[in-house]
């Protein structure tokens, strides 16, 4: 039998709220033999559609925070002078969310009063859903290192997919173009950019496309709610033609998509008509 290589497909957008998670949910319902990952670890939502049952729970430790021992501290002020993140406040108290864990202060402190403590920055999970396994995470409130947590769950999902001989890893990406997006793009076979027919949507899609190209990841475009401004949809299509990027679908604005979210179901399960048909077509094009 021919063994097909594992394909990792990432859904991103640049701009938030264009429909990444709803589209990922539809792919989860349509694809056979796959593992899903939610890489929007800051504000994960895919679990609301897939309703996972957690099978494995792991602590995510990352980064360190300075802790000053008041008894040993001589209040010489050297730590305050060297900290470039303004994390040591008057009274020699460390503002945890400002500390970047560089340990400059701890290495410098003449009284050896500063200890670097490892942070528990979040948790990650391997779960079972009605569509197969989901790897997801929860970053602690006001924690950093979301890029590292993304890398961690991407790795876990890939290993799981290899063990299960899966055909696909389907990844719900974060918004933006920074650290967690870069970690999401690493080693994927295809990035599907979900955009909307607005000036902001186009502007942000361009930036996320440049980011994907920089990391040499091929890109497909989808316009969601395309009929809210058909003229802008045409502009996005022109942009895609000019850049040689395939535009593989136009999803109409459909209030029943909101109802499907409220019901905790994917579009494929809960929405009828053109919206669903278009997503089926889009998945067929990605599969090829």
């Amino acid at each position: 039998m021919l063994s097909v290589a594992l394909k990792q497909i990432l859904v991103i957008s640049g701009k938030g709220g264009t429909g990444k998670t709803v589209v990922t949910g539809a792919f989860a319902a349509l694809a056979k033999n796959k593992v899903m990952v939610d890489c929007d670890v800051d504000a994960a939502d895919l679990h609301l559609l897939l309703q996972p049952v957690v099978k494995e729970r792991h602590i995510f430790k990352s980064g360190k925070t300075a802790v000053i021992d008041k008894k040993t501290c001589t209040e010489c002020g050297e730590c305050i002078a060297v900290c470039r993140f303004g994390a040591i406040k008057p009274g020699f108290v460390v503002e945890n969310y400002s500390c970047e864990g560089c340990a400059f202060c701890a290495n410098l402190c003449p009284a050896k009063a500063i200890e670097m403590r490892e942070n528990v920055a979040g948790e990650w999970f391997i779960s079972e859903t009605r569509f197969g396994p989901l790897v997801h995470a929860k970053l602690g409130v006001a924690e950093e290192n979301s890029g590292k947590l993304v890398a961690k769950i991407r790795q876990a999902a890939k290993e799981l997919a290899q063990n299960k001989n899966s055909d696909y890893v389907i990844i719900d990406g974060p918004p933006g173009i920074g650290c967690p997006v870069i970690a999401s793009l690493s080693g994927v076979d295809l990035a599907v950019v979900v955009t909307e027919p607005t000036l902001s949507g186009l502007h942000d899609a361009q930036r996320v496309m440049e980011t994907a190209s920089y990391f040499k990841v091929p890109v497909y475009f989808i316009v969601n709610k395309y009929d809210l401004n058909p003229e802008m949809t045409l502009k996005i299509e022109d942009f895609c033609k000019e850049k040689g990027v395939p535009m593989i679908g136009r999803i109409p604005f459909d209030k029943s998509v909101v109802n499907s979210m409220v019901a905790g179901k994917t579009i494929i399960e809960h929405v009828k008509g053109r919206t669903k048909e278009e997503l089926v077509n889009i998945w067929e094009k990605i599969k090829q």
Binding site: S13, G14, K15, G16, G17, T18, D42, A43, A44, D45, L48, K64, V82, R84, F85, Y97, S98, E100, G101, C102, A103, F104, N107, L108, M116, L139, V141, A142, E144, S146, G147, P174, P175, G176, I177, G178, C179, V181, I182, E196, P197, T198, L199, S200, G201, H203, D204, R207, V208, E210, T211, F215, L228, N229, M232, K255, V258, M261, V262, G264
Partner: protein, 288 residues
Amino acid sequence: MIISVASGKGGTGKTTIAVNLALSLENVQLLDCDVEEPNAHLFIDPVFEKKESSYIPVPVIDETKCNYCCKCRDVCEYKAIFAVKTGEQTGTVMVFSNLCHGCGACAYFCPKKAIKEVEKEIGVVETGHKGSLLFSRGALNVSEAMSPPLIRDVKKKINPAKTVIIDAPPGTSCPVITAVKGSDYCILVTEPTPFGLNDLELAVQVLEKIGIPHGVVINRSDLGDDKAEKYCKAKNIPILMKIPFDKEIALLYSKGIPLVREKQEYLEKFREMFREINCRVKEIKEGA
């Protein structure tokens, strides 16, 4: 007075609220701190007078002075320096500037003074105006992972004599915290869907943790359910405004036209919201 506009989930309408609030008031400065995907300028159409690069310091090692003691590697918490000693005066040392947070510890601790810090551009800060409205924005360079230093540079433009409005990035981690820190009040924009509510709860936890008073705007308030509103009532979080879904509003947004320009009734709504925020901030300050 500094008011930031944030949300856990992307695409809920942060920029719409920030821009229209700014255009409804006098003596205002608007800062676009969503540096990964800045969009406010699309609505404001400002005249930019100034463009400044934003840098982080990264180390450069002068190998004529280096004796490969590896102290720099040992003090770097981010593994941004690779170094090995192979003989008395021989070895290898390399800097991975993408991993560097610019803390400066390596240069400080190098016994041979062989490390110099040079500036690496991560993005630009643009400053300008539209009429009497002062406007600044940051734009992160594509492929750069770290946005907080750029956000800090945008915030250096804050003019305390003005009412300052900050358009924050989505999420709950470092970029959001950097953007909202120091605000007198934060407006959280949500939509009444399970995704919106899930991410609103996370955003509220962030603001509680860093101690910023906050209220909620419910956008597209008639598309979804009433759980976001119930949540706010249960937590005693004021609902500052509700904006129902309206195709005309969506179309204006898609073209980059501010709502208050075309729908005058919203001018008064935004002014009313500002009065309410002002009252609450005063109450809190007097209470403290």
